[in-house]
Symmetry: C3
């Protein structure tokens, strides 16, 4: 597990030992005249804000020219925060370079896949691998760190911002050079690279490192070497992590006692950064999350928060950004409906967030995100939105007992793996309709529908404690992973995997002899050809549901394998669609088709029962309520989140309601979209 090794939380400047939920936002005072700052602080205090992230996009202001720094305004802001007991998560301010830098050094500008220069005008227009950019960025980090090392408001360092949001895939010559260095470290020799990349195909054999390039535009409709692409994805993620470490190292050298973080983006289809591998490089995990479009946005939020907790190793994490209402970057940006703001925030808290922060404090008057909601909207403090923010501040204060508690492990783990995400959705695969993250989310939604708690964990997590491990589309399975999974099952664990799993090794080379390659023996079956389905078509199953996207034709090899569901029609009518191979006290199950959340539910109910996993919720609440649990020694917290737009009634749980409406009798009634938090002895 690569979660933060040194877990150190925000260093509260005052009353450092008093537990409190962090509440606040990005604060960009440089967008406003100084007279507004006083209003800001007053309103922050009124809303219960106790932390702000400052200077994220202040490079141009802090360093207006190559050899001139201007810290006066930031000194004033820092002091103001300190005076009002608001902690500062201070950015290194390197997120977006100032115009003078890109004018002086256009060679820091990224280059797109097609070869276009990425010009200034938006943000984050820098090559992660540019030595010139690195030098300038670290110089600024050093200047900021030295300036504020001793400032009493300083609570944490915020490295850059949403690293990789726009610049994760850079195809420049700097990237080419760094890619080669990364490959040399990974493979040692050109020969090993040739093997890994299967360069005997299409005459791609390299004679020297200098010949290697990023997977640049190779013609419309061309299929680029898939391992070259996969390695470039790995490299691109690592290159950003290297930048993170470079800034962190400067900070640690100057302020060894101040924790360092950076905001991840565990959400939706943001996929370029393997955050599981980054977690070791921060003192605590931070995340930005915005509600995604889709059929089940609340499930996605819970899934992302859960996975963030998994990346954080079950320890608390920092919700650095989310939105109070509408965002501005979708095609259509609908405001949040009443109840959503609080429910969204508290669902994050349930999943381990000890901080509830937003982009941003005060809605901008100009610039690219002026239509993004904020804690303090254009319309001012006397608005429904701001009143809700104030109410949330009060509720978060009531949740201070929760602070510092950990995730209480569930019986079920859902495994999430960036390598499989990247490789399974590569080009030239059996189908471009496969959605790795959606498949995992479907299984998670089915858990929610059944009232089963599940932990979403990175692949490297210790799985041994889980009764049931679901690894959907676990496409990349190196030999060691296959052994790990075999050992898990041999130890009595119940493993579930799906179509297109176990197919390739770490080089994206197919395991031969029939699919699912590396997991074939464990699952006791064999597939000769993949079964992608045409878009819009589906196959009926004999349990009354239907499969889409994919339908494998499965041959059973081990006679002990039980068939749980069969195809009713299609080319594989009568053949197994869902199988389960008992292995001692454990089992290994295979799902050969995409079931979707509603189709997963009966299958999961079946497999969970056999794994001895039962719901922790009373029957009437299952599906309607998400139960989330945190714990510390001797104490635990249950978050009961009403997922519906109706009232939900259930037996009052043991313990004390510390947030939300307490039960009036032996029944607890949770209002639509509301959250109740219960504290009890362990």
């Amino acid at each position: 597990m690569t979660a933060p090794t040194s877990h150190r939380w925000l260093r509260w400047p005052t009353r450092p030992d008093e537990p409190r939920m962090a509440f606040g936002a990005d604060y960009n005072p440089e967008q406003w005249p100084r007279e507004v700052w006083a209003e800001d602080v007053a309103a922050m205090r009124g809303a219960g804000v106790n932390v702000v992230s400052v200077a994220i996009f202040s490079w141009a202001r802090l360093q207006p020219a190559p050899d001139r720094f201007d810290f006066a305004w930031l000194d004033e802001v820092m002091d103001l925060m300190h005076v009002h007991d608001i902690a500062v998560d201070l950015a290194t301010a390197t997120a977006s370079p100032p115009p003078w830098l890109t004018t002086l050094h256009p060679e820091v500008l990224p280059v797109s896949f097609e070869g276009h220069t990425v010009w200034p005008g938006a943000r984050q227009h820098w090559r992660p691998t540019s030595p010139v950019f690195r030098e300038h960025a670290l110089r600024l980090v050093r200047a900021v760190a030295e300036r504020y090392a001793e400032h009493p408001a300083l609570a944490a360092w915020h490295v850059s911002n949403e690293l990789g949001c726009h610049n994760v895939h850079d195809y420049s010559d700097d990237a080419a050079r760094a890619f080669r260095t990364w490959l040399q470290a990974r493979y040692g020799s050109v020969e090993a690279l040739n093997h890994a990349w299967a360069t005997s195909f299409w005459s791609q054999r390299y004679g020297a490192w200098e010949e290697v390039l990023p997977p640049r535009f190779a013609g419309h409709g061309s299929f680029i070497n898939p391992t070259q692409r996969l390695d470039f994805q790995r490299f691109s993620s690592d290159a950003l992590a290297e930048h993170l470490r470079a800034e962190r190292d400067v900070l640690v050298a100057i302020t060894p006692d101040v924790p360092v973080t950076t905001n991840f983006m565990v959400m939706g289809e943001t996929r370029g950064m393997d955050y599981a591998a980054w977690a070791a490089d921060v003192d605590f995990v931070s995340n930005d999350h915005y509600v995604q479009d889709g059929e089940r946005p609340l499930d996605e939020l819970s899934f992302s928060a859960n996975l963030t907790g998994g990346i954080a190793g079950g320890r608390p994490w920092f919700l650095m950004e989310h939105s109070t209402s509408a965002v501005n970057w979708k095609s259509v940006n609908v405001p949040k409906r009443p109840g959503h703001l609080v429910r969204d925030s508290l669902t994050h808290v349930g999943h381990g967030a000890d901080a509830v922060c937003y982009f941003q404090w005060r809605q901008s008057q100009g610039g690219a995100e002026k239509y993004h909601s904020a804690m303090l909207p254009h319309a001012g403090t006397g608005t429904a939105l701001h009143r809700t923010v104030q109410e949330l501040g009060v509720r978060l204060a009531a949740l201070s007992p929760v602070v510092g508690s950990s995730r209480r492990p569930a019986d079920i783990a859902i495994v999430f793996d960036w390598d499989s995400w990247w490789a399974a959705e590569g080009s030239g695969t059996p189908t471009q309709e496969l959605r790795y993250r959606q498949e995992a989310l479907d299984w998670y939604s089915a858990c929610l529908d059944l009232g089963l708690r599940a932990d979403v964990v990175p692949l490297a997590a210790d799985l041994s404690g889980y009764a049931l491990v679901v690894a959907p589309v676990l496409h990349v399975v190196p030999a060691a992973l296959a052994e790990r999974l075999e050992a898990y099952v041999a130890g009595g664990g119940h493993l579930v995997t799906t179509y297109f799993s176990g197919v390739v090794d770490e080089h994206d080379h197919v395991w031969l002899g029939g699919y699912p390659g590396a997991l074939r023996d464990l699952l006791g079956l064999r597939i000769e050809e993949f079964g992608p389905l045409e878009p819009g078509t589906s196959v009926d199953l004999d349990n009354g549901t239907a499969g889409s996207v994919w339908a494998d034709g499965v041959d059973l090899v081990d006679p002990a394998v039980e068939v749980r569901v069969r195809y009713k029609d299609g080319v594989h009518a009568g053949s197994p669609a869902v199988t389960r191979r008992p292995v001692g006290a454990g089992s290994a199950s295979y799902v050969g088709t995409r079931l979707g959340a509603s189709g997963v539910a009966p299958v999961l109910a079946d497999l969970a029962r056999d794994a001895g996993v039962v719901s922790e919720l009373p029957e009437e609440a299952r599906g309607a309520v998400e139960l989330i649990r945190r714990e510390r020694e001797g104490e635990q917290y249950r978050f009961l989140v009403n997922r519906t737009d109706g009232y939900v009634e259930l037996p009052a749980p043991a313990g004390e309601v510390i947030d939300g409406a307490a039960p009036a009798s032996d029944r607890l009634v949770i209002a639509p979209r509301e959250v109740v938090v219960v504290r009890s002895a362990d």
Copy 2:
């Protein structure tokens, strides 16, 4: 108002004082062997053609090499026209540079947003800001002007052609230089630029002018500074106008008595050129219009013609291009149906066109537009199409009394504003589904459906004479404009505006305190959050219609505000959707949702009634007939356009039918798609 200050019409070479409707086309004799020219002139005479635009794309022919001019063929053509009493609108021939120029000076080629060179192969491949291009173009203009200054066929100068059709947005280094110059003139100091562009957002603060760039490609999915984009749109329009003035100044110096024009493109989604600002630079306004795809193409034609009239300050204008039948640049190019050719042309005349010209006289045999219809089609003179052209010539001759008359002002004005168009459809807005021009067109269509005449006018027009002013999505409202509108209402005017109006100032900075910012007090209401709707969804209204795209939640601030329509469902069910605030004898109304043409109709009927505006058409003709009115001292002209495919019968209007079928009794019957023009005393 910026309409032409010096209004001077086409200088007819013969019988200059005899009023006549100009009728003709672009004429490109260089595409044909000389023997065809004689046929051409004979057929022109046969069709009543009296004007042609010549030499528009003749640069390569007139100047076959840098230091060689060849005017012989054009001399011959000019003489031929003169002999046959056909006036010539002579182009400066700079529309498209010859191959030798772009070979010698590839630095005149535009650069696309993504950084692609725009190569020769089509047309108009020149940077509006290239000093090299300018020098060569002006040299040609001078040569042409000197050659034909005294030619008796010369009736007007035609600067370039459809300026900006392909090259309005050039991202080259020349553009960058000129953009900086433009910004310096606009803002004076870098500090003022920083304020206007809100560069404190995302670390974009400039230290020097040299750092400023056009809004070039900044990465897929990036959001470029919106004011930078808006200013680049303004600059791009201005840069073309500057080119227009540069050519004009050469012409005026040589032939002070010859009027100068250039053909605008007021139509459809052509949006790059703020023609309201260009009008002052020509002696008379010319326009090109092609029928657009869409549900109500005839309404769009009328709207465009009407707006062209508005840009021309109500004075006559020159319809430089439209089509006799199919065009060639759509995905599917359907020919015009019987009746459409004449109705389209005469609708333009009703709205002020004293010229009816086409692209082009003779359909090309080769080249990119050979499938574009013409006055003389591939199939020759003996065709239905050419016979219709000949009939139109006869009808236009009958309309000569109309020539020179002005638009008779309507009671209703619909305001059209390029700044609002550009800003409201920028990126990062609440919804990308908003269509500025369509909203204005919807209100216009509702006027047509109700039989109400409306003038479409640019924002700078004098609105004081209008009883009712509709300013849909008037998004950009500088302080002075807000004052103008307040004064209009205070003076008894009735103002109607819609969602997303009054939101920003001239820098695209949001007016704070609640929407619709600058118009909040005037409208007596306040909106806390914008209400974009998901595509495909709508909200029902209590008047039986429905809103889409947007549905604001409106809080009434002034208790005097009347609620005319309320939402029946959706998040704002029961809240006001349409409001009206009486202000003395005037009023200010707000429509918080997109109603579409059919939904606007009842609301507009209601508001027009309260404004004392009534239809000038008998009830049975409303909706079926468009009434257009022109006037001169002591005389007026009514154009009655049958918008339907059926017969329309109405009481015979007072006056004399000068075109179309006269009434047989006291009833006038207008045939399907037909037009009747009535002259009467004022």
Copy 3:
């Protein structure tokens, strides 16, 4: 006719005179360790494989550095093949350049339309016109040819691979230079070029050859000179053919007795290469075909195979690649269903393939096409797929008598022409919905539905022997072609053509005087305006079918013209939609709308009857069975292909069943998707 002039077939190393069907695949041993090679050969023998194509993508392996060749491994492979009596179609290995070459000479990389460099990473990243690439490629060809000139396994030379698949349209400066040379050869003078390209339009007149460029990106929404585009398409095809000849000439000089081929791609929308013009440059025609998406994939396969036969002049050809099951380059790659593999292969054989080869022998473990099916799948030899391959080997052995026989000419010819394909689907045409190849395919499908045999032939083929010639959308008709068609009809032939035919000459100049220009007199009709229809709309016809895409309004000029079908509605209601002009014993028919396969059927039945063409199938088999015929002196072969998923029963044909289930009585029953081959005396 440009079919191979020297037709020489594969030179079998052993028993050269024993006729045998070639059976095999691309074989890429360099992707596998040497120990796998022995397994490969054993399995090949087991499956009846007798030929493999080797070294197609081996450049990087054969020439690992500029001055180093490594033939050892290939020597071993060649010997291995020889020992096991497997013939080798040996590639020149130039298909894809090695990394060292593109590193040393980036100037060989193609440039896209937009100006993007096409980088290595996929394959075929070379400019067809690069002198540097040519030099290196020919050096390799020479080395390979000299090395294996005398090798006993060598059966044929395989030039490059799928020439033009990715690099047909290169816009580089090399391409510009070569394009100019090509144009000089075609036109002789700049003046002739100016005439042909109609450069008087839009000021495009050239003064010198140096000014001419490929039709590069000219701005979004721009319309590039159509003749420039058409000539660039012609040039691009010719440039590749020139490369083919350059490699061939090296080979012929070294091994005059070894036949040379290259694999064409007659399939689907692959359109860049005018294979009819290439056929003269190979000793035998080879083709690659992959089943296309679409409503009638089997018809498309038959059409492509048929056209390949036509290109081969009716002589046998070599099916170089097709797939045993799924491909990997579609969005969704569904495996073949049972029966499809054999039926697909044998349909090719029926249409003249004397070789049945696949991409590839052994499915790759890594690289861009590892999910492409092969003869030996990932799952190994003990799979249903491989067993089917083995069965096919047995069946092909039984078909050896067929080898060397020719296509037996049908009564109907369907003409296919690349010039018309390119020009009719150009930009700026009446509709972008027109699909040239689909129209031809519709007529072919109608033939299949009616049980009528048709030959698909290139335009240059001798048509005189056909009773009925269908030339759908024969758009480009130079004067000589018009004369040819007139002569055909005058000679008693029956010609059918459709909308948008006869419109332009070889320069894409419109024939004046009314459409269909060059064919107007022959057809006895005249069209004034084209009749494209809006997408999604159609017009009803009085024979109960409907037309879409296009509906011409036809005026009859010759009173002898018979109207076969009329429009029932639309703007041309009552007008002729299908006409037939008797001309002596012949006729010329016109179809003014797109009928689709089902709409073509009744019209074709009608016209075929009048042409005296009758089905060669018993009535019960028509539509259900495709009949294909091959012949040699004194002997003929009937292929009866069951197109359906049901059993088809018909009277047992005379002759001996040499493949497939023989008749049990006087009735022949063909199982679903099965094929029966019958030999009989002529």
